[in-house]
């Protein structure tokens, strides 16, 4: 039995406001992310998703409780860089996280700072850009890329650190539909082909259907967790939480209420069409 990659035990995080009043962004969160797992985090604005994400690579430390990444407690300052090389982050705004004037320099930035030998950096950069389908743009200036391309370069930057886990905080929020599809496809491929562990935060319910497990946050706590089928099967709860469900799941829910007998677990258009196969309409 492999040890899990991220273990949060009773983690609370209190932000201290200027007036001295603390605001708990996370309260008593327990979460385990297994190696190779794809976990999607859903929740309303301000529910604590980003705070949770920032605990995964010690950008934030628990006010109380423990967060252990690859066996290292994030409070141990000496392990900080090791933790960050295990867990890479991709943020929402594609324009805020690229630092260099040329794509390949940007991807090389991380390993350069670790003092990786130049020959090895070159092969890591090449390999990482290839993995996200951006090798043709290696000499390009990042500001000339589309949003989806910039996010893929940011992912390549994390891969070049040989990270085994990617934490993505609404990576598609600022992208057009094509960019959104590109990023999600890239993440899914890396997960499937390399067994990359993924923690993926999003407001797009349809994106969440690819996850192994969905964690739903509300007011700093994890209020629900389960497979996409379990989570999106409970349409009422999701509505009450201010969230939503994929279109096919909602249509199936409404049809069941009209007395149409449909199996549970309908998430995609294909699921719905297949479920209707027993019916003959005229």
């Amino acid at each position: 039995m492999q040890e899990p990659l991220i273990v949060m035990q009773d983690v609370s995080h209190v932000f201290q406001a200027d007036d001295g009043v603390g605001k708990a962004a996370l309260s008593h969160v327990d979460l385990t992310v297994k190696r190779g797992e794809f976990v999607t985090v859903l929740g309303r604005n301000g529910s604590g998703k980003s705070t949770l994400a920032r605990h995964c690579n010690a950008l934030l430390l628990p006010t109380s409780g423990h967060c252990v990444v690859a066996g290292m407690d994030t409070r141990e300052e000496k392990d900080l860089w090791k933790i960050r090389s295990h867990v890479g982050m991709v943020f929402q705004n594609p324009d805020n996280q690229l630092v260099a004037a040329v794509v390949e320099d940007d991807v090389a930035f991380g390993p350069e700072n670790l003092g990786v030998p130049p020959q090895e950096i070159r092969s890591r950069v090449h390999e990482s850009l290839e993995a996200v389908g951006m090798e043709h743009f290696r000499h390009c200036a990042p500001h000339l890329l589309s949003g989806g391309q910039k996010q893929r370069v940011a992912i390549a930057g994390a891969l070049a650190m040989q990270t085994e886990c990617l934490v993505l905080d609404e990576p598609t929020a600022m992208l057009d539909p094509q960019g959104r599809a590109e990023v999600l496809r890239t993440v899914c491929r890396l997960h499937e082909e390399r067994g990359l562990t993924v923690v993926y935060i999003t407001h797009f319910m349809e994106e969440a259907t690819v996850a192994d497990r969905i964690v739903v946050m509300d007011q700093g706590q994890i209020c629900r967790a389960g497979t996409p089928k379990e989570i999106f099967g409970d349409v009422k709860s999701m509505d009450e939480l201010g969230l939503s469900v994929p279109l096919a799941a909602r249509v199936a829910f409404d049809l069941r209420r009209k007395g149409v007998k449909l199996p549970a677990g309908i998430l995609t258009d294909t699921d719905l069409v297949q479920a209707l196969e027993g019916y003959h309409v005229h």
Partner: protein, 288 residues
């Protein structure tokens, strides 16, 4: 009355090696009281287009008229009319909450009307009306520092700041980007209520084809700086090949609906969830 965009072309950094034509001979009419959606992928010219609607960008060639006033009229005589015309068009940028700056919500919203030189009581009235329009209770929020609010609330404060100028045309660049499903829906409903009650024309940029389908009466589809299609969303979205070329897909409801048509469960396209469930529910019940 309308905003009329006539043969507008615009080039960023003309005459330099970085020169890039963002709009190429674009013409469109946006009538008062209408709801117009602007779609297209990144770099297709959407944002450049909307910045022409109140004269933030000046066409390289071509003209923009707001209720008949030429925004390019630089003559002394035309100046007053120009200022009036630009005030009719309110502009809400992407992530407008990043532009909040005042100590309290009410002060921030009052900034616009105050710089119009209105009296204090009129300013107060406008702040109250604007907050009401975006669903922020005056008593609860007026004296709060805007930076203490949630992301969705901050965005509503920023939009209220533009509404306080009481524009006849409200232009919003991806107003729901980054909001959770409920906040999105609330914001869109407030936008449409404003349209119904005050007859404000709404022009919104969106990457959400389902929102465009259910809210807009007209859509402008941009590709490479040109308008590739315009018309009722239902009709534009039927052109699936064109959509693909533009880097877009049809609304989810139309994708599901055509899938169900193909499989024989629907005899014709439906365009709303409710209609889909009603029609499908009826046919399936009859089939049993």
């Amino acid at each position: 009355m309308s905003i009329e965009v006539s043969h507008v072309s615009y080039t960023y950094m003309p005459g330099t090696p970085l020169s890039r034509q963002a709009l190429d001979d674009v013409s469109a009419v946006i009538p008062e009281g209408s709801v117009t959606a602007v779609a297209g992928h990144t770099g297709s010219g959407k944002s450049t287009f909307i910045q022409h609607l109140n004269g933030l960008l000046k066409p390289y060639t071509g003209k923009v008229f707001v209720d008949g006033t030429d925004l390019g009229d630089r003559s002394k005589k035309g100046k007053r009319a120009l200022v009036q015309a630009r005030r009719k068009v309110g502009m809400v940028f992407q992530y407008p909450e990043q532009q909040l700056f005042e100590e309290t919500v009410a002060k921030d919203i009052a900034f616009g009307p105050r710089s119009l030189g209105l009296g204090e009581s009129e300013i107060d009235e406008r702040v109250k009306r604007a907050m009401d329009a975006v669903g922020l209770a005056y008593d609860e929020f007026a004296d709060k520092p805007p930076f203490r609010l949630s992301g969705g609330q901050m965005r509503r404060v920023a939009i209220a700041g533009v509404l306080a100028l009481e524009p006849a045309y409200l232009v919003l660049d991806e107003p729901t980007a980054g909001l959770d499903p409920r906040s999105r829906e609330e914001l869109l409903q407030q936008m449409m209520r404003l349209h119904r009650k005050q007859h404000t024309a709404i022009i919104f940029v969106s990457h959400h084809m389902d929102d465009i389908l259910r809210l807009a009466d007209t859509m402008l589809l941009f590709r490479d700086g040109k308008i590739a299609a315009k018309g009722a969303p239902r009709e534009v979205f039927m052109q699936t090949e064109l959509l693909k070329e533009c880097g877009l897909r049809p609304p989810r409801i139309m994708e599901l609906s055509s899938e169900l048509c193909r499989a024989g469960y629907l005899s014709q396209m439906v365009y709303t969830e409710k209609e889909l469930v009603d029609v499908l529910g009826r046919r399936l019940r009859d089939a049993r």
